[in-house]
Symmetry: C2
Subunit: 754 residues, 2 copies
């Protein structure tokens, strides 16, 4: 019996068809980033990927076979309980953020308002400006410092990270409790600091962290293991729960439980399962209900339950007519164009930041600068505007600024700038015709567009949903006001609020390019099903127009980090590629009974950072007989599951599935494991721990077919075999993500540089 691992190579590789491929990509899955983009620490190097395919080894099968019908029932019930808990906690976190932000912003605006009122008559408004700038910068400084110093991954909205996680890329530290704490505090600071940001996007990330924490029954940050839900400590189950958490987050943010479910499914669940979807829906519903209940109790409106989400668009009672549909499509196109411009500017800005703004102090200073500029610009806009409106009795404005207006009037520009963005959006949707004049709306759109674009990508926790809605609502309202009011048809477009809504949809769609889920989220947020059709048309147009120029904002940020993100389908024209061309080869294989030293050497070899190893039968012609993961080998080595030469094999059977679960998901690095020289000479019997039935494909399988198998089953490794079941290569995520559809047909990305 040979003691060294086999290198199985297939010699007939057709190098013409894969000219661009470097010969160094042999079987490693580690992704290194381009030297040009070292700064995006929020999505720093991914050590590995998630495995949605259970390793059905002997231990696993024995456990499953031991489990009774009742046992499975109990598991199912605990899944439901976990989803309920995810919903409750996510809802509570949303409440906490909402209440604290309202309180802090209220204090801030009251102080500044009092100051402005004091100085309006006597002169010296520059002191008010200074006060505003200082207050904003202070909030943002706190927010930026905690993010940069404690947990850089909590920066931004977290949606790209969650997209990656649900796609199967393991983003380090993304679902830790510490990240959640930093995220929540960061969001509060940045929203209270008056940045052009929203608190809705981060809810999705928060929900995902809650889900990961609750479902695993332990926390690394707290170093506490509650010894519950141990069955769920594997990628398959964890990812299902994280989907539920993300959905609960969307649901709490927008009061959109169905939208949340669709978001999770669009982004994550490759394998649609009825029970899973139903559980995700349950988590979403509980989340919005908890938020609703707590906020209602907080506002002393127990019997009403009228706050299903953090942002509430208010009630739209408007009907639309057939004649307006071309107008809506037109608005969708504008949204697509503006969204593409936004994304392009933000892309350049991100490149700039990656090159020059990567030290924490610089990042904090940039954030503070943006806060100061935002306050100054807002102040200037309010100061220079002379759009005075009579103050209404119903006190719909929270902080009406009189400034230079006559008594009994207030400054209309201030209702959009001197307010939390959520309130501004609602004002733009619902204030009656004539509340804002054209210049106010135009200037507001322009300034907010650039401010929001500058803000996204700062090292603060914040989302882009609300700023997008705000920009869109402003130009949408402008569009509505500009329409001729007296035409041959009944002036049903008397109310510009409808156009504000469509503009908001168009702008948001143009920036993030989400489709079905966004339609449903917006419909649920308006609470009016009739708007479904126009919103769909607007989003579709915005996506088509926007996609012509540049990708969506999240995809840009994911791509900038060369993450091997798998799309839904293989590129259309990739049928001429086969598994033989895309696979990594040669691949390291182990024997069923392998020498410890050999395994140690291979795992320690940093040049070939493999994660999955086919296991072959030495005796009968090197046929494939299983697949073993690096993580499993490490646990085996750590527990020294060795067969000594003299002893029988029976000695070995002592490791339980529990040992693997305890080590999950942070398996120790190979360097931390010490093996003596004597032990190196021992053997390891892998047959009990390897997955004996890995999925395989023949070499001639076309890329779309491989892709479909990979995506439908959420695989991490797919073994390529020849016609007598010998291993010839291994297809990994990176091999598939490399091919994408460019402007000129199929292109090959360079994801890894060894």
């Amino acid at each position: 019996m040979a003691n060294i691992a086999k290198k199985v190579s297939w010699s007939g590789k057709n190098d013409e068809t894969r000219g661009e491929r470097t010969p160094l990509l042999n079987g490693s899955e580690e992704v290194r980033y381009n030297r040009q983009v070292p700064g995006l620490s929020c999505l720093a190097s991914y050590p590995s990927y998630l495995d949605y395919d259970n390793s059905e080894n002997q231990l696993f099968l024995e456990e499953e076979r031991r489990m009774s019908h009742m046992g499975f029932r109990c598991l199912e019930i605990s899944r439901w309980v976990i989803c309920g808990l995810i919903g409750v906690f996510t809802g509570l976190i949303a409440c906490f953020i909402d209440i604290v932000v309202e309180k802090l912003a209220g204090v801030k605006y009251s102080v500044v308002k009092k100051n402005i009122e004091m100085f309006t008559e006597v002169g010296g408004l520059s002191i008010s400006l200074l006060l505003w700038v200082v207050l904003n910068s202070a909030f943002v400084m706190v927010g930026a410092i905690i993010v940069t110093c404690f947990e850089p991954i909590a920066a931004g909205s977290g949606i790209p990270q969650i997209k990656c996680y649900l796609n199967g890329v393991k983003v380090p530290r993304v679902v830790r409790l510490k990240t959640l704490v930093v995220k929540v505090c960061g969001v509060i600071c940045s929203v209270a600091g008056g940045l052009a940001v929203g608190k809705e996007g981060p809810m999705i990330h928060s929900g995902a962290v809650v889900a990961a924490g609750v479902s695993q029954g332990r926390s690394t940050s707290l170093k506490k293991d509650f010894k519950i839900f141990e069955y769920f400590r594997r990628d398959t189950e964890k990812r299902d729960f994280v989907s539920a958490g993300a959905a609960a987050g969307v649901s709490a943010a927008f009061g959109a439980p169905v939208g949340g479910v669709l978001f999770s499914l669009e982004e994550g669940a490759s394998f649609w399962n009825q029970m899973l979807t139903w559980r995700i829906f349950f988590a979403s519903m509980i989340s919005t209900f908890t938020l609703n209940l707590v906020l209602s109790v907080y506002h002393n409106k127990t019997t009403e339950l009228s706050s299903p989400g953090l942002i509430n668009f208010g009630t739209f009672d408007l009907e639309y007519s057939l004649y307006e549909i071309p107008l809506f499509i037109c608005m969708g196109a504008i949204g697509g164009l503006l969204g593409a411009l936004f994304n392009l500017l933000n892309y350049w800005l991100t490149i700039f930041r990656i090159r020059y703004v990567h030290r924490p102090c610089l990042q904090v200073m940039e954030a503070m600068m943006v806060a100061a500029v935002t306050a100054s610009v807002s102040f200037a806009m309010i100061y220079l505007s002379n759009d005075c409106k009579p103050l209404k009795m119903d006190n719909s404005e929270e902080y009406p600024l009189q400034l230079f207006c006559a008594d009994g009037e207030y400054n209309a520009m201030a209702t959009t700038f001197f307010n939390t963005p959520e309130r501004s959006v609602r004002s733009l949707f619902h204030n009656p015709r004539g509340t804002y004049n054209l210049l106010t709306l135009g200037f507001f759109t322009l300034t907010y567009f650039f401010l929001a674009c500058w803000t996204y990508g700062l090292m603060v926790s914040a989302g882009v949903f609300i700023p997008s809605l705000l920009i869109g609502a402003a130009w949408g309202r402008l569009f509505g006001v500009l329409l001729p009011n007296k035409t041959f048809i009944k002036p049903i477009w008397a109310d510009p609020g409808k156009y504000a809504l469509m503009g908001a949809a168009a702008q948001l769609g143009g920036i993030v390019r989400m489709t079905l889920s966004l339609t449903v989220i917006l419909v649920e947020a308006t609470g009016n099903v009739t708007y479904g059709f126009p919103i769909m048309l607007v989003l579709m147009t915005a996506k088509i127009v926007g996609d012509y120029f540049i990708e969506g904002l999240y995809d840009i940020h994911i791509k900038l980090q060369s993450v091997p993100f798998l799309h839904w389908e293989a590129p259309a024209t990739s049928h001429w590629l086969t598994a033989r061309e895309v696979m990594s080869s040669p691949v390291t294989c182990f024997n069923q009974l392998e020498k410890v030293g050999t395994i140690m050497d291979f795992l320690s070899n940093t040049a070939t950072n493999h994660n999955g190893f086919p296991v072959i039968v030495q005796a009968s012609g090197e046929q494939l007989c299983g697949l073993i993961l690096r993580s499993q080998l490490i646990v085996l080595l750590k527990h020294k599951v060795f067969v000594e030469r003299a002893h029988s094999r029976l000695h070995q059977r002592k490791l339980q599935l529990k040992d693997f679960r305890d080590a999950y998901p942070r398996f120790p690095p190979i360097q931390s494991i010490h093996v003596s020289q004597d032990e190196r000479e021992c053997m390891m019997d892998l047959s009990e721990f390897m997955n004996p039935t890995p999925y395989t494909v023949p070499q001639e399988t076309s890329l779309p077919r491989v892709f479909k198998l990979f995506r439908a089953l959420g695989l991490r490794h797919l073994v390529v075999v020849d016609d007598v079941n010998k291993v010839v290569g291994l297809v990994t995520r990176k091999d598939l993500a490399r091919y994408h559809m460019g402007k000129h047909g199929l292109e090959e990305l360079h994801l890894a540089q060894m």
Copy 2:
């Protein structure tokens, strides 16, 4: 080279673990029904199954490789166009049904009303009764005759059939134009005939037929081929479009486009694809928009667009409070119990019908009898009721019956019985407190429950949604009225309409047991997102309670026909079963170069009605090298693609993919193909036509793993190989559907009896 096909068998089969299995189940996929259930002709013998996995043979790959980037774009655009057309046609059909039913029912009710008014004072109401009975029976007779004589598969709601189709079971004639015509006429007759049925369920079937017709660009019923969309003539594409059609049907029926998408996904799409879902959503939206537009124009309300669906629940403005949630859960439990009772009664009735009512004339007579009884019972209820209410000025009642009431009053019982069911549902939801007295509601619930139960399963086209809603609305309203009105909490339950809605949801959920999609459908139909949470709770409780007793109505009907329906997951406790135990073995294999006579003999052998044949390489040790389908072999035989002994193989290459598409989906039977004795000695080269990369699993693969692969990829055949890639068996749908979770753990069904 051997000329006979190989029988590869695996001798070590573990017979202990599969004691119940008959030795006759060797590789055949044909499903024969139990002798006890011969009558359910609507779902008669299925010749075969759908294949969601493309056969990527050389012809296919060559075509795909020839196609340019632009070509794929065009295909994608035509997919969108088809979905748009599906939406438009489905919407138009819904309009047609709606308008014709309203007209016919209007005429009927006017005639009967006039007659009743004429005879109320002078006596002789028995003549009115007779008139009503005759009118109803006449309508129903026409409906029953066209269904029984022309297309029995058009009977019922069509939802079980569409569920089967989307699950992958090819139900014969289910998506033909003729079926659609019969369905539409049948629905009109049965609704106009006053049966306790709805026109909503059949819309799902109609949408599916439209989708199949439009996407294939031809009609068998019309014998017309438009020579368009030929690329889509295969199972994969067709099933995607049928999903879109079913969604469009739901959307038109309930004005619920998102609900439609979720219905399709819950029932069909095993592999979630973003673009597909977005297209399905597009079809749904277009469908509800078309309906809305046409009905608005028809009712001269062009600018309003206020009829998104066939049934419209009207606007609910009510809030619910926390204290009501236990009440809702209670209602859910009642709904579950009543639903289970309904299903149980209908199950017994169906068994009775299968045994004794299977001749067309009996079926027509039964339908007429039900119509007569329905009219009589309704008349009796109206006649005996003395629930008089003052006639309102706003004329909300279409046909107010005065009967024995004082002038200016009308009979309240008549608003529920003397009306189309859709109007009755709306009345129950929205009429103010005090419209109905307790006895009216109680009697109505009781009679309608039994009438609806008797009606479902008749040989008429009709749905069960509306009757369920009606029963539920009646007892829900009763529940609401019975609640103490003055309690320690604010009497927010003053309006019983809310309880009617919850009762309707509970009853419908208790009968059909749909979950996520039904919640969304109901939320969209009410147009009020706030009700999402209570409706979800109600449906969940109804499902849990109902499932304890008996399955859902559609599942009962599917099961009664022993259809090999694949659920979402393998039974939980099936890990101890492996591919070796579930597979069919021995399996017929062909050589790559096989004798025509051998192939003819195997295909003609009616005892072993195989549909997929592994192809093996004779030379190098009988390894698997491909999979060929019966349908492909038949096309090859028909076109006589033979290699004569003397000639070279090049002679053969003349068959195009087009030849396969033209034959799709109704491949000729083997008996229609004549092969001369000389030709029998020729050879056929299968290598170009077989799928060279079929999915395979090793023998030790556990059942859940096999199931997951099968379901995720929508397979029809899965080859089981040994460790040197030799064929040992074939797993088909029937092998997997056999195992299910019973009360006492894993049970094995007897689906096939050879």
